[in-house]
């Protein structure tokens, strides 16, 4: 029965969105002054804060430094009050470690790493409120923070999730849909070249449907890209205005 209510006969989802509709996406750049780059993103009820420090000298063990490219150091943590049930630890649990690793992979593919050999870039992400699509919101926030820090990238990385319910592909699923739909694909793309830098499919999905859902995810990513670009442009316009040309 759960599947019946997920998508109404009129083609509306539980929160009233159409299958191709994203949640309200609002973001801000440069929220903190101390960090080199920072960004805050709200994707529906999911709220994520990202900061970037660097490029700087490698901290801790010097043996971690890479001779030909920059070391991308990520940390994903969730506030203990961010989820419905209280989390006991903000980081260090299996899921956070996995998320950290995924983020690292994604950004190693996007940042022009060869420009800063023997250095380090820190990307810290903090989920303040979680309502599904944590990974996507984290990636989008981190991208904006990297842009704010002025770190050269191949493209603005955009991430989006998608699912499949009642023979329909739906985009940007929330927590309720995440737990009920069964399948979830999470992807991050470089929109200009339409290359996928991260792809994960959780749950069961028939082979025939995979392309449909991936296409929906791609569409979501492109929509996210539009919003992110607008934010960056208006942020830069504001910065220019305060500088007086």
């Amino acid at each position: 029965m759960a599947g019946m209510t997920m998508l109404s006969d009129q083609g509306l989802r539980m929160d009233g969105r159409r299958p191709t509709e994203l949640r309200k996406l609002s973001c801000r750049l440069g929220v903190f002054t101390q960090a080199d780059g920072s960004a805050y993103i709200e994707q529906g009820n999911t709220k994520v804060l990202a900061t970037v420090y660097g490029p700087h000298e490698v901290t801790g063990a010097k043996s971690k430094a890479l001779h030909d490219r920059v070391l991308v150091n990520c940390q994903y943590s969730m506030a203990t009050f961010s989820t419905g049930e209280r989390k006991r630890r903000p980081r260090g649990d299996r899921k956070s470690i996995e998320m950290t690793l995924h983020m690292q992979q994604t950004f190693e593919a996007a940042i022009l790493t060869q420009l800063y050999p023997k250095s380090q870039i820190d990307i810290f992400v903090e989920v303040l409120q979680s309502d599904g699509g944590n990974y996507c919101a984290s990636i989008n926030a981190a991208t904006l923070a990297l842009i704010d820090a002025g770190i050269p990238m191949k493209d603005i990385v955009c991430a989006c999730s998608a699912s499949f319910m009642k023979e329909t592909a739906v985009v940007d699923i929330n927590h309720l849909e995440e737990t009920h739909a069964g399948t979830e694909i999470v992807m991050a793309i470089l929109p200009k070249t339409e290359q996928i830098v991260f792809l994960q499919i959780n749950g069961r999905l028939h082979e025939d449907h995979v392309p449909k859902v991936i296409d929906m995810g791609m569409k979501g990513c492109r929509d996210v890209h539009t919003v992110l670009t607008q934010t960056v442009q208006s942020h830069i316009a504001d910065a220019m205005a305060t500088m007086g040309e």
């Binding site: 203990t80 980081r91 810290f124």
Partner: protein, 278 residues
């Protein structure tokens, strides 16, 4: 990086300024900066508040969960403080780097709230020795820029003010066990009386004078600080000396009384703000 490095000349400039009762941002020694408070920011929590004071940014979430009372205090609920130093604030906090500071703040808070008169813990008890509310007060440091203790305590008090605890109906079954029914109505809740909750006031010793609400630069110049927790009525629930320097008993007494006065007016101002009287 987030730490502040000051040269000798800069330090002398600050110290001389403080002697003449003028600080680098134009305040006098006992003047508090204005700060922003926002309550109800996290919808997943029972109560939440965000405080931004200059460059310090604190987010507090309170979650009320059902639990079992402690054996020694069967008629009281519990308060659990947890502080998380986010790496966003300082890259040094990455991994377990912020744990020391986090534990320090958490213990300071639980000491300040340890006094019986601050919060009526018996109101958090549901059934004697069987069920009680546990309030998890989770503090998240998003940005650290001076006067951390004060900002945290202001945020905690505001978040507790915002906390909504659902009302319960109790029934006793044949075996004498208490069963709990949670109301379906989200507007059926009770609030916490925060009138007597303490606020931490940091008093910073710079040269011969002392300074309230120090900025990061002033904290670097100071020999040591005294953190005093003050309630609305002027009761002091705990004090702690922070920093490497040493203090004479006379100056401690002086600092405590200054902090007390500031604390009383700060409590008053915060309560007025929270209740929407300003």
């Amino acid at each position: 990086m987030a730490e502040v490095l000051l040269s000798q000349a800069e330090k002398i400039f600050i110290v001389h300024g403080v002697e003449d009762n003028v600080r680098i941002d134009g305040r006098s020694c006992l003047e508090y900066r204005s700060f922003e408070i926002e309550t109800g920011t996290v919808s997943n929590a029972s109560g939440s508040a965000r405080v931004r004071m200059a460059n310090t940014d604190i987010l507090v979430g309170v979650k009320a969960e059902l639990g079992v009372p402690a054996l020694r205090k069967p008629d009281e609920g519990k308060l659990e403080f947890f502080v998380d130093c986010s790496a966003n604030a300082n890259p040094k906090f990455e991994g377990r780097g912020g744990e020391e500071l986090a534990n320090d703040i958490a213990s300071m808070l639980s000491q300040a709230y340890g006094d019986k008169n601050t919060l009526d813990m018996r109101k958090l008890c549901i059934a004697d020795g069987q069920h009680c509310w546990i309030l998890y007060i989770d503090v998240l440091l998003l940005e650290v820029g001076g006067n951390l203790y004060d900002a945290v305590s202001l945020a905690v008090k505001s978040a507790l003010y915002d906390t909504k605890i659902p009302n319960l109906t109790l029934t006793t079954n044949e075996e004498g066990q208490v069963e709990i029914d949670l109301s379906d109505d989200p507007f059926d809740y009770s609030e916490i009386d925060v009138e007597n909750c303490p606020i931490l006031v940091t008093c910073c010793k710079i040269g011969k004078s002392h300074v309230i609400d120090p900025s990061v630069e002033e904290e670097v110049c100071s020999l040591c600080r005294l953190v005093v927790s003050v309630t609305r009525t002027g009761h002091i629930t705990s004090t702690r000396k922070v920093g490497a320097g040493s203090l004479l008993p006379e100056s401690i007494a002086e600092m405590v009384s200054t902090s007390r006065e500031i604390g009383i007016s700060l409590n008053e101002a915060l309560l007025n703000k929270l209740k929407g009287r300003i």
